[in-house]
């Protein structure tokens, strides 16, 4: 039985209106890759922000509890929260171009990420940066590090973001649509990179995506988010083989080439009958992944 890394039950929103996430219950086990799939506007990114308690900077709020490694993050003072960000929980954002400060050289960005949690001096910084770059399949020579974000490709930029995210070896990596800005080949490479990192570093990954097909090759478990509610959560195979929720079925039905068999079409009256169950989070099932874990 793997240790529970993160367990949350939150409601989050912006301003005074309807919450964008309603009573979401979600858990991440150590070392697993959990894919959070939903359409645009379903609240996926808000969940990532809420989790890091950064949603306030976008004018939002979050309530509930977020227990990470046995500590409730909601009760932490901001100073402790800051210490956690980047060191225990890494974040990779959707657009590598806008996520890198255009005015800083790559080396300076990495260094800033390092200095947020460690002291500046000497060899650990060089070693760890080099290692992170290597893990992200990036060259770590000076000529590359001296470049500005505008001087590297989008794929490379995404790898730099990943390298920065794993610099402090966090136990959880949140990837918010990390591949949606990339071309197909680069997408595949980045997906593979996440799988590799997960394997090599045993870092748990919360992989947020709208693309069910691509995550199905990567994730151990998948959670489906629809209009702010978690409608389904379970091992990939289980979700694909026997989707419980009509929305999941529709998602799977839309896939160009389903990985297993053709899901049955959902009868219209079934759909209506199941509407009532929407909004109730599925019970969390233990991971059934095959990857190495403690």
């Amino acid at each position: 039985m793997a240790a529970r890394l993160l367990e949350m039950r939150i409601t989050a929103g912006y301003g005074k209106g309807q919450p964008v996430l309603e009573d979401i219950t979600l858990a991440v086990e150590s070392g697993e890759i959990l894919a959070l799939v939903g359409q645009s506007g379903s609240g996926k990114s808000s969940l990532a922000m809420a989790l890091l308690r950064l949603i306030g900077y976008r004018g939002g709020w979050v309530r509930g509890s977020i227990v990470f490694e046995g500590t409730d993050l909601m009760g932490l003072p901001e100073r402790r929260m800051r210490e956690l960000r980047g060191s225990r929980i890494g974040l990779v954002l959707q657009s590598p171009v806008s996520s890198l400060n255009p005015c800083l050289r790559l080396r300076d960005q990495l260094r800033e990420a390092w200095l947020a949690h460690r002291s500046a001096d000497g060899s650990p910084w060089r070693q760890e940066t080099g290692r992170a770059m290597e893990l992200a399949c990036l060259p770590s020579e000076e000529t590359f590090l001296r470049r500005y974000p505008s001087e590297i490709s989008v794929g490379q930029a995404q790898r730099v973001l990943i390298a920065m995210a794993i610099l402090h070896r966090p136990s959880l990596l949140i990837a918010d649509e990390p591949t949606s800005a990339l071309d197909v080949i680069t997408q595949a490479e980045i997906l593979k990179l996440f799988a590799d990192l997960n394997r090599k570093l045993s870092t748990a990954v919360l992989f947020i995506s709208h693309d069910l097909l691509s995550v199905s090759t990567l994730a151990h478990r998948v959670a489906i988010l629809e209009r702010g509610s978690l409608v389904e959560c379970g091992p990939v195979r289980q979700v694909f083989d026997s989707p419980a929720h009509p929305f999941t079925r529709r998602l799977i039905g839309c896939l160009p080439q389903p990985p297993s068999r053709e899901p049955e079409a959902v009868p219209a009256n079934d759909l209506r009958a199941l509407v009532n169950s929407v909004g109730q989070g599925e019970p969390v099932t233990p991971p059934v992944h095959a990857g190495e874990s403690q």
Binding site: R58, L93, A113, L161
Partner: protein, 268 residues
């Protein structure tokens, strides 16, 4: 190094070098009046001619360059730094500093400047040295010129507040002063640079206009502003086009500094 940067270095060196050596290489003292050569056209003795009091234009230009080229950017730097600090903290620190900034910059922008500057002039002794008067003037310009630019900075900082890269920096655990100084400020640099560039010629001209109040450059010390004022008399330009030399130098300098200090992010 790009060709433009190389050219900019050469231009700056050509302007600053002789200016710094003005004391040695100027053909005449800047205040010496050649009474028999009033408003003379260029000649072997006076390569750029003489002004209305018979003073050698080249010598005055060299000395003026030294004075203005050191003081105006210094004042621009001062006001830009103040603007950066005021604008960024107003955009960053929430409602109260934002309100305070709004009020103080409004106040500064609509203040009866004349009155304030007159008070300053009255407080100075009458026989203040020309150079001291000039330094005080630029200091004043720098210390008081931040209000306008700080609003631009605040608007830019407010829009950066929601940018992905600052969000990511926060997600990396960066916060507080470091977030401001290492992540926000570099991103504001283009805005600040623009404010800096526009301030330099502005201050040079403002200094000349303050002469009305008895501040700024006092005869016989030359400054770019003072020399540029001569351009008001357009008939003089027709007689001796070298009167335009200070304007050309100002343009060349602003261009060169712009090329040299502009960062590569402009390529983005």
């Amino acid at each position: 190094m790009s060709r433009a940067r190389m050219a900019a270095w050469i231009v700056l060196a050509l302007i600053l070098g002789p200016a710094l050596a003005a004391g040695w290489i100027a053909p005449a003292p800047y205040h010496r009046q050649f009474r028999e050569a009033i408003a003379a056209p260029p000649s072997a003795d006076h390569p750029l001619g003489t002004d209305e009091l018979g003073r050698d234009r080249l010598s005055r230009l060299l000395h003026a360059t030294r004075v203005s080229l050191l003081l105006a950017p210094a004042a621009a730097l001062l006001s830009t730094l103040l603007a950066a600090f005021a604008g960024a903290s107003a955009a960053w620190l929430g409602r109260f500093p934002a309100g305070a900034h709004q009020v103080s910059s409004d106040l500064l922008l609509c203040l009866p400047w004349m009155f304030l500057l007159l008070t300053v002039r009255a407080a100075l002794p009458l026989d203040v040295e020309p150079l001291a008067s000039l330094v005080i003037t630029f200091l004043l310009l720098g210390a008081l010129g931040w209000a306008g630019p700080s609003r631009v900075v605040r608007a830019a900082a407010a829009s950066l507040r929601n940018s992905d890269f600052l969000l990511l920096a926060r997600a990396q655990g960066v916060a507080g002063w470091r977030l401001l100084s290492r992540h926000l400020m570099p991103a504001l640099r283009p805005v600040l640079a623009a404010q800096f560039w526009t301030s330099i010629p502005l201050f040079i001209l403002a200094e000349a206009n303050l002469g009305i109040l008895g501040l700024g450059v006092v005869e016989p010390l030359p400054s770019w502003g003072g020399l540029l004022k001569e351009l008001e008399n357009y008939s003089a330009i027709a007689e001796n086009p070298f009167v335009l030399a200070p304007a050309a130098l100002l343009l060349a300098c602003v261009w060169a500094m712009h090329v040299l200090l502009a960062r590569k992010e402009r390529a983005a």
